[in-house]
C-alpha cells in the first residue's frame, strides 16, 4: 500500500452522547454538564467531552483499515472547543509503515477553525 487512505466525514455531538459518556466513564466534569458553570469559563457554554470526537476519529481509522486495531501511540491537541450540536468536519488519513499504520486527523468547524489535531501509530489486531 503506497498511497495514503483518506476519509472525510461530518459529525455533531449531542446531549445524549455526552450524558452517556459521563455515565460510562464517571467523567462528570461540569464543563460538559453544568450550563451555569460553563458560562463562567472562557468557553461561555458547555463543550463536548474530548474523547467523543477522538473516538469518532478512531472509528474513521477503523473504516479506513477495515479492521480492529491496537493504539500504540497517540498525540492529540484540543485547539478549540467543540460545542453541543455543532457540525464538525473530520479528515483522517492512514499510511502503512512496516507492520504499523501512521494515521493523522484534523477536525474543523464549518467556519474552518481547527479544533483538534491528532496523530496515531496503530497496529491491526490479529
Amino acid at each position: 500500500m503506497n498511497n495514503a487512505l483518506r476519509k472525510k466525514a461530518e459529525k455533531s455531538f449531542g446531549e445524549g452522547e455526552v450524558q452517556s459518556y459521563a455515565g460510562i466513564t464517571g467523567d462528570f466534569n461540569p464543563i460538559h454538564l453544568d450550563k451555569k458553570f460553563a458560562e463562567k469559563t472562557v468557553f461561555k457554554e458547555r463543550i463536548v467531552s474530548g474523547a467523543l470526537p477522538i473516538g469518532f476519529i478512531h472509528s474513521l481509522y477503523r473504516e479506513l483499515l477495515g479492521a480492529e486495531f491496537r493504539l500504540l501511540k497517540q498525540r492529540a491537541k484540543f485547539l478549540g472547543p467543540v460545542y453541543f450540536g455543532e457540525g464538525i468536519v473530520f479528515e483522517a488519513e492512514c499510511k502503512v509503515k512496516g507492520k504499523k499504520f501512521l494515521c493523522s486527523s484534523k477536525a474543523r468547524t464549518k467556519q474552518g477553525k481547527t479544533v483538534i489535531e491528532e496523530n496515531s501509530e496503530i497496529m491491526l489486531k490479529d
Binding site: I31, F37, I47, G50, G55, H58, Q74, F78
Partner: protein, 135 residues
C-alpha cells in the same frame, strides 16, 4: 470503573511539582462494551480495555481530584493490552504548573495487576480559575 485514592488538592497552590499520586481502576467488561458502543459504534469486542478508555480515565483525574479543568493536549504510548476486570494502577505526577497560563503538566504511567508497565504519557490540563478552582 472504580476510582480510589483521588488526589487531595482543593486549590491551585495545593498542587506541588513532583507530587505523585496513584489511582487504582477496574474496568468491567460491561463498561468496555458500553464504551465501545458509544465511542466506536460497535460492542462486540470486550477482550481488552480500549486505549482511549485508559486515556479518558487518566485525563479526567484532575477534575475528579477537586479541580475544574479540561485537557488541552495529551500524548500516550501503550506497550501491553489492559484486561477488563484487572486492577489498573495509574501513577500521576505533576511535572510543571504555570499560574499565568492556568495550566498543570502531568506525567502518567499505567501498570497492570502484575505490575507491568502497560502505558505511559503526559497531559496538559487547563484550569478554570475564573470559574472557581474548587468544586
Amino acid at each position: 470503573m472504580k476510582l480510589n485514592n483521588a488526589v487531595d488538592a482543593k486549590e491551585f497552590d495545593d498542587v506541588k511539582i513532583g507530587q505523585t499520586n496513584s489511582i487504582a481502576l477496574i474496568f468491567t467488561k460491561e463498561e468496555v462494551r458500553k464504551f465501545n458502543q458509544l465511542l466506536f459504534g460497535h460492542s462486540n469486542i470486550t477482550d481488552s480495555v480500549p486505549e482511549l478508555f485508559l486515556i479518558s480515565a487518566a485525563t479526567s483525574i484532575d477534575w475528579k481530584s477537586g479541580f475544574s479543568s479540561v485537557t488541552s493536549s495529551y500524548e500516550a504510548e501503550f506497550f501491553l493490552p489492559a484486561n477488563p476486570g484487572e486492577k489498573i494502577t495509574i501513577e500521576r505526577k505533576v511535572t510543571a504548573k504555570d499560574g499565568s497560563k492556568k495550566t498543570i503538566h502531568i506525567s502518567l504511567k499505567a501498570f497492570n495487576g502484575k505490575g507491568e508497565l502497560i502505558g505511559k504519557g503526559s497531559s496538559v490540563g487547563m484550569l478554570f480559575l475564573d470559574a472557581g478552582v474548587t468544586k
